[in-house]
């Protein structure tokens, strides 16, 4: 028994973290609100092998499993990377779709697809399984969403695309990998919001003291920190369960998503409250992360959907 992100996994995660800190700072996320995201972070992730963690070595990938990738995806969440890392690296890559920017919506409901305005390929559900469409095979109907950096659209296939899998279990597994990635991104977002808020609470003074010295502020942040403490192992475990094909993998991803979504919600409320009005502006960076967390909390199945899946799995 040993449960921790050991050295080599941690190293991959640290690589992602460092390059995202440099290439996907808040200014880059902000810029992506009004224009197609700057591809430099995405290219750097590709160069580092992060998009091909799950691709076999024989096909030029790293040939590793989800326990390696989950930390990278969490870091993408921390940076609010606009690009579709979960879709490309976690959902599509194991299906043999590699070397291209893929977006997908295998979510429980219909089709608001992120990164739709610039993705090269679209992995969509069809009657017979999962199909891959090129950008010229879909009709894009852009929509305005609360987090504009996501570049969402409704997507309607025009051509037949290419059948990637007709296997129901493989389709379900792909969905669950998407849930896992979304949970990891949410966890990363919570970490970022906590850092921002702890930093702000130490620096902002009122009544002649840092606001972080007030107990009400402390308790908001302690509560959020506690949520993070217990969501994080569930996300890591979900990755492990998926990687090892454990019998409880489906439940584990739902649990991870539910916990990470809840955590991001508690964290987001605390972050906004502790920032006061400055947090309630689009000039401050907090909203970049807050809005991403709102979007992801309901993507790939919301809290109720995943609680119901867990309920069924424990015999309720």
């Amino acid at each position: 028994m040993r449960f921790s992100l050991d050295d080599d996994r941690e190293a991959l995660r640290a690589t992602a973290r460092d390059l995202l800190a440099e290439l996907c700072p808040p200014a880059a996320v902000r810029a992506a609100w009004t224009q197609e995201p700057d591809p430099s972070a995405w290219h750097a992730l590709a160069d580092a092998g992060a998009l091909a963690v799950l691709v076999p070595e024989s096909e030029g990938g790293l040939g590793l499993d989800e326990t390696y990738l989950v930390g990278v995806v969490e870091e993408a969440g921390r940076a609010a990377l606009p690009h579709p890392l979960t879709a490309t690296a976690l959902v599509a890559a194991p299906l043999g779709v590699a070397g291209t920017t893929v977006t997908t919506d295998l979510g429980a409901s219909s089709a608001i697809v992120p990164a739709a305005t610039y993705a090269e390929a679209f992995l969509l559900r069809s009657d017979d399984g999962l199909r891959l469409y090129g950008a010229d095979e879909v009709e894009i109907e852009p929509v305005e969403t609360v987090d504009s950096s996501r570049h969402c659209a409704r997507v309607h296939p025009r051509g037949a695309g290419e059948l990637v899998t007709g296997d129901a279990a493989a389709t379900e597994a792909a969905f669950e990998r998407g849930v896992l990635g979304t949970a990891a991104e949410l966890l990363g977002l919570s970490h970022r919001m906590l850092e921002l808020t702890v930093g702000y609470a130490a620096q902002r003074h009122q009544f002649g003291k840092p606001i972080g010295s007030f107990q009400a502020v402390k308790h908001h942040l302690a509560n959020a920190r506690i949520q993070i403490e217990f969501a994080a192992p569930a996300v890591l475990y979900a990755a492990y369960a998926v990687a090892h094909g454990r019998g409880d993998a489906s439940r584990a991803v739902s649990q991870a998503k539910w916990l990470a979504g809840n955590t991001a919600s508690v964290m987001g409320r605390a972050a906004l409250q502790c920032h006061g009005a400055i947090g309630y502006t689009t000039e401050h960076d907090l909203h970049l992360y807050l809005k991403r967390s709102w979007a992801l909390a309901r993507s790939w199945g919301g809290a109720g959907f995943h609680a119901d899946r867990v309920a069924a799995s424990i015999g309720l």
Binding site: E229, A307, A311
Partner: protein, 383 residues
């Protein structure tokens, strides 16, 4: 990363499961109606249970064999806890000795103290209660005013402790006493080991919220504590330096006192209750959510133990778990009451468990105090 139990651990789990089943049946046949361990009669019943555990080497699995343990690791301890609570065995009336005093003895005790006291703790011969709180020192433990005056051959104790769990049934008390009369706050306190049968010590049991005599007040009036009252020394750690010993115990209490196994057992009970009685869609989701919170605690503990075995100090991080398990326990019992409907009012394990769960955010350092610790020491917010 490896989330599989070893063959030895799996074997231990099987042995223990069988042992618990057989021995619980035998013990229950012996005692008749099983009473609460927070009553005098129930405590006596449970001592018989504790001695069974000890004789089979199960009372303190992670201790050295010389002290009555089975040389287990923290993983073995975790397996033990899962099986123990799963079996429906009673609360451990030896808990304060095994889980709170003993870790401090291992860390701060002299060889003599360890050799003399630990085996008696494991064997449930000495029954220890925890003497931190006083009428005017609760959360603010550094405000203790009970005094220990140095005299030839020992100490003279004066003052009062309170909220002492099972104090009326225990044989010994460990606690903090002000040994330097001119000192303030954390300085000048000594951690003393005190037999409760000294002249000048009066213990008065009184009832907790659930009506059981689980609390006690302990009064010290010119009570002479000889230096050799519990062996070669009644002082744990150094004279006037008891605070740091107490703090290390507090961290243990918060972090590992309540293992996930307890809540796994409680949630399993809720699933049974659901199977018997059913409930509405909202309660179904609420129960699924609670199941996830329990399982998250289990997973977090696996990480914590991995870190502890890597040599990381638990320290303030223990406060994260303390808030989690205590609030979780209330949620679990509230769900039970919801499922029971009007039957929730009946005296029984769920109503009793609910009342005990409500104490969780108060004892072992209130949850407000834990949040202060998380904010200041984990997050580094300014004082």
């Amino acid at each position: 990363m490896d989330l599989n139990w070893s063959e030895t651990q799996a074997a231990m789990r099987r042995d223990l499961r069988g042992w618990l089943e057989r021995n619980l049946a035998e013990w229950r046949a012996e005692i008749g109606v099983e009473l609460s361990g927070d009553t005098r009669e129930g405590f006596a019943q449970q001592l018989r249970w504790e001695r069974r555990l000890y004789e089979a080497g199960w009372s303190a699995v992670a201790w050295p064999e010389a002290y009555g343990g089975r040389e287990g690791t923290l993983w073995d301890w975790l397996v033990f806890e899962e099986e123990y609570w799963r079996s429906g065995a009673p609360q451990r009336v030896t808990q304060n000795g095994i889980q709170i005093l003993a870790p401090s003895l291992f860390e701060h005790g002299t060889q003599d103290q360890k050799d003399l006291l630990l085996p008696r703790i494991a064997a449930a011969e000495d029954l220890w209660c925890q003497g931190w709180s006083e009428p005017n020192a609760g959360s603010d433990l550094a405000g203790v005013s009970s005094r220990a005056r140095r005299v030839s051959g020992g100490w003279v104790l004066d003052g009062q402790k309170t909220w002492t769990t099972r104090g009326a049934f225990c044989t010994h008390l460990f606690g903090l006493f002000r040994s330097d009369p001119d000192s303030e706050r954390h300085r000048g306190l000594t951690y003393l080991l005190v037999p409760l049968d000294l002249d000048g010590v009066v213990v008065r049991g009184f009832s907790r919220l659930d009506g059981d005599e689980g609390f006690a007040e302990v009064f010290f009036t010119e009570a002479f504590l000889p230096d050799d009252a519990v062996g070669t020394s009644v002082v744990l750690g150094d004279v006037d330096r008891g605070w740091s010993v107490a703090v290390s115990a507090a961290s243990t209490e918060r972090g590992l006192l309540r293992s996930p196994g307890r809540y796994q057992a409680t949630v399993a009970g809720l699933l049974d209750l659901w199977a018997e009685r059913g409930g509405d869609a909202a309660t179904r989701r609420r129960l699924a959510a609670a199941w996830m919170l329990v399982d998250a605690y289990r997973l977090q503990t696996l990480q914590t133990i991995t870190a502890l075995l890597d040599g990381v100090d638990l320290g303030s991080e223990a406060s994260l778990a303390k808030v989690w398990w205590s609030e979780l326990d209330i949620e679990l019992h509230e769900i039970a009451l919801e499922l029971l409907g009007t039957d929730a009012e009946l005296e029984g394990p769920w109503s009793k468990g609910h009342q005990f769960a409500l104490a969780g955010p108060i004892y072992a350092g209130t949850n407000e105090v834990q949040r202060n610790i998380v904010a200041e020491r984990v997050l580094g917010l300014p004082r």
